[in-house]
Symmetry: C2
Subunit: 583 residues, 2 copies
Amino acid sequence: MYRSHTCGQLNSSKIGNEVTLSGWVQKIRNKGFMIWVDLRDRYGITQLIFDEERSSEDLMKKAATLGREFVIQVKGEVIERESKNPNIATGEIEVLVKDLDILNASLTPPFTIEDETDGGEDLRMKHRYLDIRRNPVKNKLVFRHKVGMQVRNFLSNQGFIEVETPYLIKSTPEGARDFVVPSRMNEGQFYALPQSPQTFKQLLMVGGMDKYFQIVKCFRDEDLRADRQPEFTQIDCEMAFVEQEDILNIFEGLTRHLLKEINNVDVDTFPRMTYDEAMRKYGNDKPDIRFGMEFAELNDIAKNKGFNVFDQQELVVGIAVPGAAAYTRKQIDALISWVKRPQIGANGLVWAKYNEDASLKSSVDKFYSQEDLQEWAKATGANPGDLILVMAGDAGKTRSQLSALRMHLGNELGLRKADEFAPLWVIDFPLLEWDEETERYHAMHHPFTSPKVEDIPLLETDPGKVRANAYDLVLNGNEIGGGSIRIHDKETQSKMFSHLGFTEEEAKEQFGFLMNAFQYGAPPHGGIAFGFDRLTAILGGQETIRDFIAFPKNNAGRDVMIDAPSKLDEEQLKELSLKLNIE
Amino acid sequence: MYRSHTCGQLNSSKIGNEVTLSGWVQKIRNKGFMIWVDLRDRYGITQLIFDEERSSEDLMKKAATLGREFVIQVKGEVIERESKNPNIATGEIEVLVKDLDILNASLTPPFTIEDETDGGEDLRMKHRYLDIRRNPVKNKLVFRHKVGMQVRNFLSNQGFIEVETPYLIKSTPEGARDFVVPSRMNEGQFYALPQSPQTFKQLLMVGGMDKYFQIVKCFRDEDLRADRQPEFTQIDCEMAFVEQEDILNIFEGLTRHLLKEINNVDVDTFPRMTYDEAMRKYGNDKPDIRFGMEFAELNDIAKNKGFNVFDQQELVVGIAVPGAAAYTRKQIDALISWVKRPQIGANGLVWAKYNEDASLKSSVDKFYSQEDLQEWAKATGANPGDLILVMAGDAGKTRSQLSALRMHLGNELGLRKADEFAPLWVIDFPLLEWDEETERYHAMHHPFTSPKVEDIPLLETDPGKVRANAYDLVLNGNEIGGGSIRIHDKETQSKMFSHLGFTEEEAKEQFGFLMNAFQYGAPPHGGIAFGFDRLTAILGGQETIRDFIAFPKNNAGRDVMIDAPSKLDEEQLKELSLKLNIE
């Protein structure tokens, strides 16, 4: 038996007990006549003491050979500590070591295994097994486990059944590129790894499973964007005999449950906002509503006042930045440079300070009177002390640029508080979006999403205006879930494929299995999928997901520790070529 | 709202209530003036009634158009049923329909959606979404979910953390062939899909995660054997600072918990048997101990009695078949033919009937006296009324043949009862096994398994004799779990690779990342993996796993419904060729 207790377990109630502990050497203080060792495991740290007066010479010698991250086992007596440490659970005691066994030595670790480490990210990623020993990383993995357990228990209690769907499937490209997997049993043929279990969960609904969920890995063979992994985890859900309202209620319930159980935060009914409103008010379909700074459209009051720059533009839109009237010229210039960066691409920024004395001073005083600027203040909701920022241009682009600026200011002003949670349903997404490159409509969500019944006639006349029964759950400015009510009859699904530019053969070839299934009594159904990596990170108060993944891939798509992928040897290449029917 | 209640929910306490139900039409009885419909969903069946006297003409007409598997929504009143059905929860009531909505029509299903269906396996697999509507399949998927939840809750309560390990990894072939996945980001390079998360869970132990588990998909690109899928699910576990005894205790606890919670069966401490004993007593490393028929070695009493057939053989071994003395000549001949089939490959079978009058009659009476045969009876534990069956030959082959015969008889005599559970630990497996084909030793479990300390010297002199710290959990004649205490120091692991015929470069190239990690304080650790598909099937009283998988692959490795894999188009082929660096 390697241990009677963990390193987080002993306290003054155990004084006098003989115990056995195992763990890693965190820290050593050697005063010659006395040696203290901090022994660490997943559960905590216990102080060990070797004492010339009470320990044998051999034991003192052995203890002196210990190094950081050595793995040891000790037997000894729990004694009261002289200088107590009220910050840790075991701070009242120490263990007077009587027996020391070195279970494994360690090279000096390349960075310190402390909460605040001296190791840079690359080094820590290279030795991820050492990084995981650090509390900040270890705690996030434990946190992720807890979130997963809460999700499963909640959904299971609601009658959802976790059903595993296959990983080696037929390629049914939707948007992103599939990873393909050559099959040895079927020469010249390939499996694909699922981008999501979408069609399978719909088949389960046809199969009467009624309420399905799965926490499942999904795959996209795409260039890594910041914080997006080629393999990611999804909480995938589907329900039969439901309308949008039913889905929103259940998954609002799940999210509220998580916020309560994980974060101890009570949240009221989630607000809802249409896609159009979100775009108008925040320039963004996943607005962070923890802070205001809502968009005010200024076309009526800012155009035709002699300021040509505005007059020619589709949209003039502004926000009030609270307390920022005190910004220096330098600070404002920095904001202007910020929006002019290629990533944002704005032409500039008009500003107006709403001074504490209620006077207004703007960068366009030549064109606008105090009364004009008062109108701006009224429209943007600015109070004395605030700074009004205005952009103009093509409506879509300008909204998106102002949204980026708003988020930038939200971060800069500390308005995006990690311990505050503001969930939001965004509903009524467009069904289709025009793709400039391919010059045709694409499904905004996916081709299985149903249009709103009242908008179906628009499919023939103005497809871009058709709204979908689609919804996103947004938390603190992050899309953490999205779903829709699906099409459940063959005819509508057929028409949808045709609107998306599929020929009848293509639709049959790729999705015939689903449309066939729809002929045998498919129930109305819908669902949602949550990004588990992102959800966990947001609940954990962070926006970067990588720390919540045990073995993330680095920017080259390689495993941080095991340098995957690797080259195939000649024999493997030959075999693959055969599979590919390439000579 | 599609329903106020499910089809399994209404009973006499709801009589008089207005309800809304949705589901599938299971059965229709149309007497013209009255129409009964059985409405089915995941939760049960509710009888609907349309009645000329109480329903409108339009409603009667509409009801008459319904067909099997139509999806409908009805509103109506819960009324008392005239002819009650005590066999179902809703048997006391029916719903008098006032409003009928046909949500989706259905073609006539290719087989009946009943517990006992008229559809053959191929047809049911082709339309798996219809097969899943049947109780026997649906219930097994729900059962699997329950087992999964119990496993997760038990392990989580024991302090295990579920950590997701990557699916796109470096290829580290162990035994079976890897599925490979070309990477678009790293030209000419490939990921592999994991055959198990073995090395990752060991890295998690190096990382101090202490107790890890995961219910996880694993992959083997191998020919499908009966009931083996190319993708399968594993309950994968690992613990640090443990000896074999700790692992056996924890996972005996898990298994006992499942038997109690899932099957309501109490099981005592699990018996343990060494690999050698299992092979000697049952000819099998996964013996079904629900019934006796233990092997008796008869070399001492059956050789050198003038029966040449036995004299030349390495092993003479027999079993007593309870109550089978009454077997006819024809029945015994059938057994002899059975063992002579090429799948078994035995030369023959010697038999001796131990008659109720205590006399013995054998197929070798010419060579053996009654006293000789009494010795056989004593050795095999035969009682009057039993049949003694004896085989002889090369020890390994003969044991395996007699084991097959024993299992065959166990099935034939109904001794393998589905509701009886006999778990068993098989321990002290050999570390290495000789492979005739490659003429070298292979790791019996895997190269990370530690040898027993006392057997290490044998590694140099008689490697085949070295026992491993490896163990299997056997349930009713099926291996449901297997694991080992691992090597945790670089030197021993290096030596092991060399014993397995790896050059130093090969070992470094393939497993360098693990041996490097071992240099930074790897704790002693060990673990186990359960076959989740098999475990679920066995707990469910079945040996075939396919029914417990929602979308199994058929014998060609294709998905039963979605005809994967598919051919790549020219563009995809070209892209892949580029990846492969093939012109």
